[in-house]
Structure formats: C-alpha cells, structure tokens
Amino acid sequence: MATVAARPRLRVGIVKMASCDGCQLTLLDLEDELLALADRFEIVEFPEASSLRSAGPYDVLLVEGSVSTPDQAEEILELRRQAKLLVTIGACASYGGIQALRNWSDHDAYREAVYAHPEYIESLATATPIAEHVKVDLELHGCPISPEQLREVLVSVAVGRRPQIREEAVCLECKRKGAVCVMVAQGVPCLGPVTQSGCNALCPTFGRGCYGCFGPREQANATSLARTFALGGREGVEVSRLFAGFTGWSAPFRSVIAEYGGPPGMTPPAETRPEGGSDARR
C-alpha cells in the first residue's frame, strides 16, 4: 500500500473491433479526471485520440467491439498475447452487441439486404463477444459502459485492488433512487430485474422500461420474467423483441429469444445457429 505512489505508470491500450466507438469515447467523457488519468497511466495505444501507436505489450488493454471479420478473429489472439489484463468495454465486446442479432439469420441474406455487391463484403457470419475467442479478465457491461465503472477499474489497477463492481439487478439502483417501478405501476415491460446495475436505473427513471443494455446479471431468471410478459398479453415475437437488443446474444437472453420464436425481422432461422465466430466464417 505505502508503495502505491511509487508504482511505475501502467501501459494502457484502447482498441476497437466492430463497434460505434461510444465506449472509448466514455474514457474521454471522464473530462474532469482525464488529464489526471493521463498522468497516472501511459496511454500507449488509442488511435481514436492519439497518433502515437504501440503494438504492445500492455498492462491493461481495453477492448471495444465484437469480433465480426476474419481479420479481427486473428487480431484478437495477438492482442491477448500482448495484454497482461484484457478488459472488454461494453455490450459489443462482452455480448456481441446489436450486430450480433445477425447471428440468428442467414448471413448472405443480410449482405444482400444492404449491399449491391455483397461479394465485396468481408465479414464473418457472426458477431461474437471477445470471450468466445480469448480469455477475458474482466467484462465491463453497458451500451455504453458506465464512466464510474471504467474509472473504478482504472483506480483498482492503479491501487492494486479488486474493482468493486456490483453484480446486482438494476432494481436495486432504481429503488435506492426511490423511483416507482414502471412495470408494476404502469405495466411497462422492464428488463431491470434480470439486468446488471451500473446505469443508475437510467431508463426507469426516464419513464421507460429497461432494455437490458448492461446485459444479464448473475443468476438472471429471464425465463420467469419472459413468462410474466407473456401472461401480460404479449405473445411470441412481442416477447422476444424485448430481449433481442444490445445484449440479446448473452446466454440467458438468447434462450428466451429462441423460446419465443427468435428476434423480429429474422430471415428464416439459420439452419444451424452459429455459436462461435472464428469457426463460422463464410
């Protein structure tokens, strides 16, 4: 402890796969502490913000985005070799992200739907979380991640303790804030009970149901919640669409989506649903 201040500056890298850049932007959104962090850490790789580059090694590597191309599937292996700590930031890297919805469908149909010349397009049939490819030391949830949790991870690394990231349901934050449950009082479907906290109950306190962007919490009983939605008069895809969002590819949500007929607008079920990325190239 007394030696913390004497520690060398840790080498930090921030890289992206298929994503919107919003999670790395969250680092820049730590405006008040950004420069202090820059003094504390040596940011050696952060192409979005710096022309200085480094192929590693990294003490901490923050990875945004999901693995969606053959190149990325290989790149992530090397990045893992270079990283002492590999932390995925956000729903894409941790759960595949919204683009993982294509994992339910026929990939070629997708390509043709968007591009005049699908043959030009280099991409995997699936968009998959980093953990399906390499060992991940910590997954930060959220679409985007919470600045507080990102800060907590960096502080923990600096101080040398375990990050205190709660595994609880969004409901705990919601009730601590004194918000009225939108599901019970207004009949609005809400994924809060099965979603990990970290957003400070954002949607419920903005009059909406949680759409699960922080992903399933531990022991998430999505089956029971889905059944409750169904009993509330929804059927089939009207239930699955609630789970088929930014973390729909997570195991608990995925099984509910399957149970209720797959995500909306899916082109006839991919005969064999791809589970992995690198093994599912087209």
Binding site: M17, A18, S19, C20, D21, G22, C23, Q24, L25, T26, L28, D29, E31, D32, L34, L35, I43, F46, P47, E48, A49, S50, S51, L52, R53, S68, T69, Q72, I98, Q99, L101, R102, Y110, R111, A113, V114, Y115, A116, H117, Y120, I121, E122, A127, C143, P144, C199, L202, C203, F206, G207, R208, Y211, V237, R241, G245, F246, P263, P264, G265, M266
Partner: protein, 451 residues
C-alpha cells in the same frame, strides 16, 4: 504550387515508382484506407477504401417499431447518436402525421445543440488542434498547452451535461421517443448546465479567435456544397435540402436528388448527385449556405475572423467553421433554456400507418438521411441510412487529388502528415460508415524515394 511543376523536377527518373505509406490514420473515429496515384505531379486516381466490419444496421431494424429503431440506429455512432435518433424520429413522426408540442420541438433542438457541442469540441480540441500545434495527441499537447486542452474538455463537458439532462447519459441517451420524449426535464433539471453555459459561450468565442490564428496548409479548391436550410433558424432538424448548385428538396426527398453507389473493395456506399457529382457536407457547407441564420454571437465571431471565403475553398479551415458552430450551439442552447417551459405532455399518442418514413437532419458532420418502409403494424420492412461521412467521401477524394501535388516534394513525413491532416479536417466519422483509412500514395513520376 509544387505539384504543378513536379513533373519537371530534375530528380525525376521516369518509370520508377515512389510510394508513401501511412498504416493507420489516427484521431478519426474509425478505420479506413486511401490509395492515391500521382503521375507527373498530377493525381490520376484517389480512392477512399472502406472495409471495416459491416454492421448491417439497415437490416437490423427490419421488423422493428419506430421506438425500437431510435434505440438501434443510435448505436451506429457513439459520437453522434442523437443525429441518428433525430433523422429517424422525424421520419416516423412525418409519416404518422404527429404534431409535437412546441416545447418538445425546442427540447429536440436543445438536445441536438448538446451533441454538436460535445462532437465539435472533441474534434476541434482533441482531434484536430494537435495538427496545428504539432503534437501526436491532445494528451501530449496538454504537457505544453494544458489550458487549451482543459478549455476544450470544459466545453465538451457542457455538451455532455446537456445531453445527460435531457437523455440521461452523454452516449446513447434514452429519452427520445416517437411523439416526443419519455420524460421532459423540469426547469430545475437545467439549472446547472444553464450556469455552465455562460462561461462556455465566452470560451467558445475565444476558441474561434484562437483557431483562426492557426495557419493551415494552402488549398483553394471549391466543391459543390449541400446542406439543410431553414428560413428562421440554423439547420438542425428541419428545413430544406439545398445545394450550391441550386438544388432545393424537402427533407424526405433526398432520394430524388442523390443516389448511392457501391464501389468495389469497400464496405461503404458512396453517394453522388444524380448527375454524378461529388459534393461536400458539414460545417463548411452550412457556413457557406446558411451563415445568415447563425446566432448573432456566432455570426459576429465568424465575421471577425474574416475567413468566411477561405473556409469555402480550403477544407483545412473547417476547424474555424466548426468553432463558429460550437459557439452557435452554446449560444442557442442558452437561449432555449431561458425560454423553456415544460410541455403539458412530454409525448403525444399516435397510431402507426403504413408508408414511407423519410427525413434528413444536420448531424455535426453534415446531412444525415433516413428512409424507412413501414407496414401497417408500424414495423420496418426496408431501411436506407445515408450517413454524412459516406456522402463526403467523394469530396475527400477530390480534395486529396487537388491537394496532393502541393505536398509531393515536401519531406516524406511532412507530406504524409499533411495528407492525413486533410482527411482529418473532414472529421470523418468512420464508425458511422464503419470504415478504415490506410493512406497510400503511388507517384508514377517520382523515383523510389527515401522521402
């Protein structure tokens, strides 16, 4: 300019090729590549190649309702999610014939101001400024110019504050719904940011003066311009699509004036006018086409720089245009908050109807067009999303072609840096088009140079 007489330089050895390489263009959102061929000092081909993982958003929204679309399309870009929500929400409200409360309309503009502020502050201070002051990054720049970086972060923070007050969080806010907002802020919710705005406006005025003093590389290359124009206000959500060549379309009619092409070796769909012209979007185009609608403070600041004409022809000056718009967004945000009265109902009820939902709004980087085919249940059947960056690619290529000759006999590193800088001047949001730039110059006229 050097390029013009490049072919006559004595160090030339015909037939030998010279190659520049930049493995990765940094300080842009995303990744991509460019190849440039110069023969006898003349660029014969310049092509932006874009091949990052496609995310198939147009397909992902199929089967979804308008509200779901708002959440999904925001994820196209973490820097300008609100732009995507705005084009989409107006498209659906236009189709469903929804009349939104005036206060809600004001809130929508306020929210858009927030995005312009954080996006422009990010680019001006953290991405673009280091080019003029000669640093690899703003963080490195902070060592010598901490006050500048801190000022940029402070302004950016105000933008995020605004977005959070209205939408809960700076990235992917959650309150925009078809018909209004899921929750409208109380006046008290806007107090903190209102106080912050006074200082930020002054800082933005200083910013305009500051960036105007930064000397850019020489370039004089006028291009066709396209932007929204509104009789009464600087264009965000409403107005008509106009061009420097006299085009004048309703926000939903983009398709009648422009088309998308899918070029080989790229994951991006490039846009052209129907007669095949490339065109330029964004701050430069807006300043040129509708400066008179700027907030008086911003208009004044622009006038003081005396650079209005140069901005029109030298993309490197876009940092000035962006700073002026930054000032505009802050000043307008302040006015909107001062006049804000919470709406009776934050959201009006509606019933979906089938048809075409199409609209365009002005993202920080320029015109953003959405078009959705909707069925009777209000579910999307087909979607087309045209982000500003893919519309700008043609213009970027044309500018590179015009600019490259002037840097060919600069030291290699400097030349590459200036070409990279030109691309950065466009603030390409590659995560919108999801693309990767890898700069490559093939100079057929030059020897295998060491640069």
């Amino acid at each position: 300019m050097h390029g013009d007489d490049g072919g006559t330089l004595t160090i030339d050895a015909p037939g030998v090729e010279r190659e520049f390489k930049v493995p990765y263009i940094t300080r842009v959102e995303g990744e991509g590549s460019l190849s440039l061929t110069v023969r006898d000092g003349v660029v014969v081909d310049a092509r932006l190649k874009i091949f990052e993982a496609p995310r198939y958003f147009e397909r992902l929204v199929v089967g979804r309702t308008g509200d779901e679309v708002l959440d999904i399309v925001a994820r196209i870009c973490g820097i300008c999610p609100i732009a995507y929500q705005m084009s989409a929400v107006h498209a659906f409200e236009d189709l469903y014939g929804i009349r939104i409360d005036p206060s809600v309309r004001a809130l929508r503009r306020l929210l858009y101001c927030g995005e312009w502020i954080q996006s422009h502050a990010l680019h001006v201070y953290l991405l673009h400024a280091p080019d003029f002051l000669g640093y690899p990054s703003a963080l490195a720049m902070a060592a010598d110019h901490r006050e500048i970086v801190e000022q940029g972060l402070a302004i950016k923070r105000v933008g995020n504050q605004l977005i959070s007050a209205l939408g809960g969080r700076p990235v992917h806010p959650v309150s925009v719904r078809v018909g209004g907002f899921s929750r409208a802020p109380r006046r008290a919710d806007l107090e903190d940011v209102r106080h912050a705005l006074d200082k930020a406006v002054e800082q933005a005025q200083a910013t305009v003066r500051l960036v105007a003093t930064w000397a850019p590389p020489e370039l004089s290359h006028p291009q066709p311009l396209v932007a929204m124009r509104h009789p009464a206000e600087y264009p965000y959500n409403e107005g008509r699509i106009v061009s420097s060549d006299g085009l004048d379309l309703a926000p939903g009619e983009w398709g009648t004036g422009f088309e998308e092409l899918h070029l080989e070796g790229t994951n991006a769909l490039h846009a052209r006018t129907l007669d095949g012209q490339v065109y330029l979007l964004g701050p430069t185009a807006r300043i040129a086409l509708t400066a008179q609608a700027l907030h008086p403070l911003a208009f004044e600041a622009l006038a003081e720089t005396g650079l209005r004409d140069e901005i029109r022809v030298n993309i490197h000056r876009s940092i000035v245009a962006r700073a002026v718009e930054l000032l505009h967004a802050l000043a307008e945000a302040r006015d909107i908050i001062d006049g804000y009265r919470p709406p009776a109902e934050p959201r009006v009820a509606f019933t979906p109807r089938p048809g075409i939902a199409a609209w365009s709004t002005e993202a920080p980087r320029g015109l953003l067009h959405h078009r959705y085919e909707v069925d009777e249940r209000g579910h999307v059947v087909h979607a087309q999303i045209v982000p500003p960056t893919s519309q700008n690619q043609g213009a970027i290529e044309a500018d590179l072609a015009a600019f490259a000759p002037s840097v060919l006999d600069l030291p290699h590193a400097e030349a590459t840096h200036q070409l990279e800088m030109l691309i950065r001047a466009y603030d390409p949001c590659i995560s919108c088009a999801t693309h990767f730039l890898d700069l490559r110059i093939v100079d057929a006229a030059r020897g295998e140079g060491t640069g």
